[in-house]
Structure formats: C-alpha cells, structure tokens
C-alpha cells in the first residue's frame, strides 16, 4: 500500500493513548507490528513529561502521524497541525475537526476547509471523516490522497455501524486508500473492515483498554491480515436460500 508516495506494509495504524504504562504501550506497538503510530500535542508541564514521551516514541522506530484531536475549529486545527509539523518534522497530519462533544463526529465543513488550507501549505492530510461520499469527494478536491471514514464514534468499540456505506465508498473511490478510523472494538470488527476492501484500520482504545493490550494488538494484526486476504480472495455471493454443497447427481435411490 502506498500513501502519499510512502510504501506501507502493515495495515494496522495504532494510537498511543490510554495504555496502563509506557512499557505496555511499547510492548503493544511491537506486538502489533505497526509502522505508523498516532500522537497528539498537549500543554507541556513544568516537569517536561512531553519530552520523556517523545523519547519513548522515537524508540519504537515507527513513523509518527500527529493528530489534531480535540480541535473544534478550523483555526485550532490548522495551528495545531503547524506546531506538530515543526515538533515531529513530518508533513503528515491526521486532521480532526470535531463537530459535536457527545459523538465526537467530524465537522465535515470545517474539515474540508482545514484540509484545503493545510494541503496548500504542503501538508499531507489524513482526514478523519464520515462515510459520506460527497464529503469524500470534497476532501480529495482539497488535496487529500487518503480518506479515513469512521466505523463508529471514537472510543465506543461498537464496530462498523454502517458497513454498507463503507462498501459504497470502496466502490466509489477504487484508487483512494481508505482507512477505517475509530469505533473498532474487537478483532472481528477489524476483519470485517478489511473484508469490505478497506486498505487499513486505525485503532487505539480497543488495544489500550484490553485486559492484555499486547495480546489484543497481536490479535488485531492477525484479524486485519485475515480480512485483507479474504477480500483479495473474492468472497462468494450471499444467497437467500440453502444450496446443497454436496452434489445431488449420483445419489442412490433406496425407496
């Protein structure tokens, strides 16, 4: 898979928040075999805790995808993105413009506007969006080369709420890398996303809040690989009625 001209082997992108400890985070990153981890920017404390965290991140050897999590306006998101570019020395930005406090759903109008500003400024934008096709088109027009539709609200672990819409996105944007971002709770959710033809999955809470984060990271990686392999193998059509799998021809007559 290529995103903005960069070859990516692992189809699992992992968030770094909410782990019980930095050591468990590092263990989960290793177990997931991810190449891309997401991070955020927050106010530095007097004890320099952010600097310590930065060292942990570097040691993972992963590419950093900074986010604009928590930004509710275009201006906040754009400023945060510019600060992240300097801090992490990368043009990549996971762009979040949040529209609603309860659902954390994207403000797609602000998202398109911020994506346009940042793309023109040389950023490579990974937009956290809905599964709306028109919004997807506007984001591509704004300069995005990847789309990250939500599966379900952030941190909810509900799995894919609207798999049909994701399938439609796949059909409508055959050449655009699609990454399901948010809502994955279990390995089967991740496998389902991949079976629908998504290119990758970005998740955080499902691993961080599992009883055994490293074990769950490993399970997610396997589920994603299995789902991808299933998609490539072209699954059979669903049928409404039973069809015998054993040939009827040649059956004995006993009556």
């Amino acid at each position: 898979m290529q995103i903005y001209g960069t070859d990516i082997t692992s189809r699992l992108l992992l968030g770094t928040a909410q782990y019980p400890s930095p050591a468990i985070l590092a263990e989960a990153v290793r177990a997931s075999r991810t190449e891309i981890i997401t991070v955020s920017l927050r106010r530095e404390t007097a004890d320099g805790s952010g600097t310590g965290f930065w060292e942990h991140l570097r040691q993972t050897g992963c590419r950093i995808l900074p986010n604009t999590a928590g930004c509710h306006s275009v201006q906040e998101a754009v400023t945060t993105a510019r600060m992240a570019r300097e801090l992490f020395d990368t043009p990549w930005i996971k762009l979040e413009v949040i529209g609603h406090c309860d659902t954390l759903q994207p403000d797609v109008f602000g998202l398109v506007e911020a994506a346009r500003i940042l793309s023109a400024d040389g950023f490579q934008v990974f937009p956290y969006t809905t599964d709306d096709l028109v919004v997807g088109e506007k984001l591509l027009e704004a300069g995005c080369e990847v789309l990250m539709p939500w599966g379900a609200p952030i941190g909810s672990g509900q799995g894919l709420r609207t798999p049909d819409a994701l399938q439609t996105m796949r059909a409508h944007f055959p050449e655009v890398p699609l990454i399901v971002d948010a809502g994955i709770g279990r390995p089967s959710d991740a496998a389902q996303a991949m079976e629908l033809g998504m290119d990758a999955v970005l998740l955080n809470t499902a691993v961080a809040k599992a009883g055994d984060p490293a074990g769950m990271a490993r399970a997610m990686a396997m589920a994603i690989a299995a789902g991808r392999a299933g998609y490539k193998a072209d699954p059979m059509e669903r049928r409404d009625m039973a069809v015998p799998s054993t040939p009827v021809l040649g059956m004995a007559e006993f009556a």
């Binding site: 991070v39 600097t51 986010n67 801090l87």
Partner: protein, 65 residues
C-alpha cells in the same frame, strides 16, 4: 509583565518569546509554541515580542489516538 502561559498567569521579565521560554524553564527542544492563537516557529521565537496579557501556548508530544 504578566502573560498567560498554558492558561496560567505568569510574571516575566523578558520581552521576547524566546526569553520567556528560558525564564519559565521550557528548555527542551520538544516543544512548539503559539502566541495569541498563531503558531510561532522555533526560528522566530527570538523576534516574537511579548505584550502585557499575551496568551502563550507551549505544547509537547502527548499520547493520542
């Protein structure tokens, strides 16, 4: 002069962003700054003049999803 740093009031002697960071102990290279809502690059911190009541944000890498 009094400025607001990460939402808390501080009294500082210097009058540039660079001087304020030194004074407040933000010496790590792993911080990024914004003054009154606008990003200030590392290279421009020495030229960024502070005024009474300015709002300074000093951000660092943190866990995120």
């Amino acid at each position: 002069m009094k400025i607001i740093v990460n939402a808390k009031p501080h009294d500082i002697a210097g009058n540039t962003l660079e001087a304020a960071l030194q004074e407040l102990g933000y010496t790590s290279p792993a911080v990024a700054t914004a003054l009154n809502g606008a990003f200030v690059t590392r290279a421009n911190r020495g030229d960024a003049q502070l005024a009474e009541g300015d709002r300074l944000e000093v951000l660092a890498p943190m866990q995120g999803g």
